[in-house]
């Protein structure tokens, strides 16, 4: 499994995408996340573990209370996804360039209509 697969698996669940949405704005405590998404702390904990395992989020204990875990997004997986999506556009850009060359060669300026 590649990192990209892992990222996609982690994002394949609506709750986890909700977590990502919330963390995009600012780092949050697990309790805030479970309250915002109306989910039990235990269930949220399982989702956070998946996100952590695949490297989408990280936790730190750096707050005023060392027992409280703060979750934040990691940037790297999103860069990789962006690259994948760019590949889709690169694919079409290549086809359209091939289309343009063929069309101009056969129908372009100076060519009769066939």
């Amino acid at each position: 499994m590649t990192d990209l697969d892992g990222t996609l698996i982690a994002l394949s669940d609506p709750t986890r995408r909700g977590v990502i949405d919330l963390l995009r704005r600012k780092p949050r405590r697990a309790g805030e996340l479970s309250a915002a998404l109306e989910m039990s702390p235990a269930a949220m904990s399982r989702h956070l573990r998946v996100l952590r395992t695949h490297g989408l989020v990280e936790e730190d204990h750096a707050g005023p209370d060392a027992r409280v875990r703060i979750y934040r997004l990691r940037r790297e997986p999103f860069r990789e996804l962006r690259k994948w999506l760019d590949d889709v556009e690169v694919f079409w850009a290549g086809e359209l360039e091939s289309f343009r060359r063929h069309a101009e060669r056969t129908r372009g300026p100076g060519k009769g209509r066939s």
């Binding site: 996609l8 860069r79 996804l81 590949d87 889709v88 086809e95 343009r100 069309a103």
Partner: protein, 164 residues
């Protein structure tokens, strides 16, 4: 190249009239669509792409396999409005029945020719539990247009773009 949310969008300016651009894009697709395993299911085998004109027409590829001639239907034309616009369904090689994305192609007249724009969208309509799997046939092909990663793309593009 930009796209938002659910769509990948790419344009090219071609120095021919819209009617010619539309005609080449459809009837002559086999002449310009790239060859090779990244671009065709036939891979290195001899194959041919066909674009049947008119609503309900099919875009399909035929090729010889060890078990004889085979056909893969990419999708059917859902909108046919020459020379301005066409839309068709787009299925990757390992989409399940019923799973599809859509491709819209517009042909806009400009001073020097025609601006052709492809918008590939519909990832969000793929089911949430769509398997995250690499391709069964032609991994590079799958990677490029195997949009079965589907719905993920919607959220992910939004995430990525807002994080730039």
């Amino acid at each position: 190249m930009t796209g938002t949310g659910d769509a990948a969008s790419v344009s090219v300016l071609v120095r021919v009239a819209p009617a010619d651009a539309f005609d080449v894009f459809t009837r002559e697709i086999d002449l310009w669509w790239k060859q090779g395993p990244q671009f065709r299911i036939a891979g290195r085998r001899r194959g041919q792409l066909f674009f049947e004109c008119g609503a309900g027409g099919r875009l399909f590829e035929t090729f010889e396999s060890a078990r004889g001639p085979r056909t893969f239907e990419v999708g059917k034309v859902t909108l046919w409005d020459p020379p301005r616009r066409l839309e068709l369904e787009w299925r990757g090689v390992n989409f399940k029945p019923g799973e599809k994305t859509s491709v819209e192609v517009t042909f806009a007249q400009s001073a020097s020719g025609t601006l052709v724009t492809v918008r590939h969208r519909g990832w969000s309509s793929l089911p949430e539990d769509h398997p995250v799997r690499h391709g069964l046939v032609g991994p590079a092909f799958s990677r490029m247009i195997g949009l079965w990663w589907g719905q993920l793309m919607t959220s992910l593009r939004e995430h990525v773009e807002t994080r730039r």
